[in-house]
């Protein structure tokens, strides 16, 4: 018997290039508040909060394969919960956020159960309905929600202390929440459950035949996703200090879905990239376009740039840029594009196939 081919060694994550990159990114993230103005921090914090929402959507869309066009409303639910708890119950903000996570879990269960039965585009339309109705409800029950003008906090909840400004504190808190959540999400989407989710999203029958509890995993994805989105919504209102129905129109949900796709719906860095794009791009586009129709032109540019991203990086900007980086670095490409198979994609593979045909290798190996 010949010795078996050695098992490819696996290094702990923090010693892989990817892990090192993540750590470096985190380090930069921690330094940012001491380098930029409070105004820039305000937007950066918005990006972090939205990234959290997009990450929740990634879990749902990218990993569990369920579409939600209603996550904007879930962010809204989280936002309103936080607001109401702070304004009506005088809850300190961490408690209010915990409350919105709890409400998010509940919402996840309530939407997730019918979602199990619906699936696919039907689910997308079901969630669209939620996104469409949410602002109507917020308008309608104005005694409770403040109606069209919504709810506002008198000041930023992050009180300056320990030499940090309120903007810096808010930013660091959002960063910590995002990093922590992304860590947890990454862990449940690699290894055993990562494989199970791959089966759940692409082939239900295959999943079941391998002992995967499809409904359970789908529901968990919905619940976790909703809780994360709700937390994101809570953090977002703490940053903005306002919650109004107009913040959570259907467009917001659509934009979140867009952020997920443009960033790469199975990439956690992609969630940040996507969020950054949807926060900064409209501002940027209207800044470079002074003049009358600038609002519409900016929207047009926004749409065109997103379209270009979708065409040239269908697997998401994050994956695309790392593929590009690796290509440039002359390294072999590790994964096929997200949608391997079929005539149009050009599959790439890790290792060149050994020159001798497999049958022969096998025989020799066993002889």
């Amino acid at each position: 018997m010949t010795p078996p081919v050695p098992y490819p060694l696996e290094r702990p994550w923090f010693r892989t290039p990817r892990g090192l990159g993540t750590l470096a990114l985190l380090l930069i993230g921690v330094c940012v508040p001491f380098l930029v103005s409070d105004y820039d921090l305000f937007n950066a914090t918005r990006v972090l909060a939205i990234a959290l929402g997009v990450a929740g959507l990634n879990l749902l869309v990218g990993f569990s394969g369920q579409i939600s066009v209603g996550h904007g409303a879930i962010l809204g639910i989280g936002g309103y919960t936080t607001m109401l708890m702070m304004l009506n119950l005088d809850a300190p903000w961490p408690v209010a956020l915990a409350g919105s996570v709890a409400v998010g879990l509940l919402v996840g269960v309530v939407i997730g159960i019918p979602a199990l039965k619906l699936g696919g585009l039907n689910l997308g339309l079901f969630t669209i309905a939620i996104a469409a109705v949410f602002p109507l409800l917020m308008n309608r029950f104005s005694d409770f929600t403040g109606g069209t003008v919504g709810l506002a906090l008198p000041t930023s909840p992050f009180t300056a202390q320990a030499g940090l400004t309120s903007a810096q504190l808010g930013y660091l808190f959002a960063l910590a929440s995002l990093a922590g959540t992304l860590g947890l999400l990454r862990n449940i989407t690699t290894g055993r459950f990562g494989r199970a989710y791959a089966a759940v999203r692409t082939n239900r029958i295959l999943a079941m035949a391998n002992g995967v509890r499809v409904p359970q995993l789908k529901l968990i994805a919905f619940v976790v996703s909703a809780a994360v989105a709700s937390l994101a919504g809570g953090i977002l209102v703490l940053v903005l200090t306002v919650a109004t129905p107009d913040s959570y129109l259907l467009t917001f949900s659509l934009i979140l879905l867009m952020a997920t796709t443009v960033g790469g719906n199975r990439s956690w860095i992609g969630a940040i990239v996507g969020a950054a794009i949807v926060v900064y791009l409209p501002d940027f586009a209207s800044d470079v376009l002074p003049g009358q129709a600038s609002g519409q032109f900016a929207q047009l540019i926004f749409a065109v740039l997103l379209g270009v991203c979708l065409i040239f990086a269908p697997g998401g900007l994050a994956g695309w840029s790392s593929t590009l980086a690796r290509r440039i670095g002359g390294l072999t490409v590790r994964r096929a594009p997200a949608t391997a198979g079929g005539a149009r994609s050009a599959p790439v593979r890790t290792e060149p196939r050994p020159e001798s045909p497999p049958a022969l290798t096998r025989k020799e190996a066993n002889r």
């Binding site: 019918p114 619906l118 339309l125 309905a129 129709a293 929207q299 379209g307 997200a338």
Partner: protein, 293 residues
């Protein structure tokens, strides 16, 4: 009792706009496999084209035909210039592309035609038909007729002609269709052209009632998406019936469940959809996707 029937009739006529748009959605879906969020905006563009032509003194019927033809061309162009380059097997990307198109076309229409609503004269003339204490405007009656004709024509096209068969085949499995000599870019562009044409009908039916503006179709699009789901995205009859049903249900809910009013009445429609889908996942008339091991 008259009020009941009048509201039923109002609901039906409101529903014709949804039905027309849902029909267009269903046609794109069947012809290209995409749920096209930009369908409403395409209808708007068609209506603006009809409007521009009408202002030039062209008779209404010709204006409609011109708008339909122009939209077909626009639909095809949209495919050739944009959608063709998207990874069509990836539902998420397709959906996101729909959103990008929605934002882009809406901005473009606003830049070209401005955001103020304009009056769009009914191509069917103004006036009402009275019967049994009920009434129907010419526009409502004509719109309904137009939608039915569009439905019949597309049904004929997709179900009875070789062209329709090929369209469906390419949408469903482009690599296999290529092996039968069907070039996907060409046929998918044709699919978009048909959808564009149907969308133009939606625009022409909607504009006189809703007032012509780039935002005209925002709300109807939502209802049309619901209608298509209710009736079954794979079924054109379903789309039309779904649209009418949603029109009626929301009209009745607004009237007879006072608490809901004119805004939350759509909740009833959504609840109806969820119930239908839980019982029949393909929608009322839709076919479920065949998966077997």
């Amino acid at each position: 009792m008259t009020e009941f029937f009048q509201i039923l009739l109002d609901g039906l006529t409101t529903g014709t706009v949804y039905a027309a748009l849902a029909l267009a959605l269903s046609v794109v879906f069947q012809g290209t496999g995409m749920l096209n969020f930009a369908q409403g905006e395409l209808a708007v563009v068609a209506a603006f084209i009809a409007y521009t032509v009408l202002l030039g003194g062209i008779p209404p019927w010709l204006a409609i035909l011109i708008a339909v033809a122009a939209s077909a061309v626009i639909g095809a162009l949209l495919h050739v210039v944009v959608v063709r380059w998207v990874d069509t097997r990836n539902e998420g990307v397709l959906m996101a592309m729909g959103v990008a198109l929605l934002l882009g076309i809406s901005a473009l229409a606003s830049i070209i035609w401005g955001t103020d609503p304009r009056s769009f004269p009914s191509p069917f003339g103004s006036g009402i038909i009275q019967f049994a204490g009920l009434r129907l405007t010419y526009q409502q009656a004509g719109g309904a007729l137009l939608v039915i004709v569009a439905m019949a024509l597309t049904a004929l096209l997709f179900q009875k002609t070789p062209i329709g068969l090929r369209l469906r085949a390419v949408a469903q499995n482009a690599p296999s269709a290529a092996l039968l000599g069907l070039s996907a870019p060409v046929w998918l562009a044709l699919g978009w052209a048909v959808a564009g044409a149907v969308g133009a009908v939606a625009g022409v039916v909607a504009a006189p009632t809703l007032g012509l503006s780039p935002q005209m179709m925002n709300f109807p699009l939502l209802m049309a998406l619901s209608a298509a789901t209710l009736g079954g995205l794979t079924s054109r009859v379903g789309a039309v019936v779904g649209g009418l049903l949603i029109g009626v249900v929301t009209a009745f809910a607004g009237r007879y469940i006072p608490f809901l009013g004119g805004d939350l009445n759509i909740v009833v429609a959504f609840v109806l959809i969820v119930i239908v889908l839980l019982i029949k996942p393909g929608g009322l008339f839709g076919r479920e996707r065949m998966v077997r091991a």
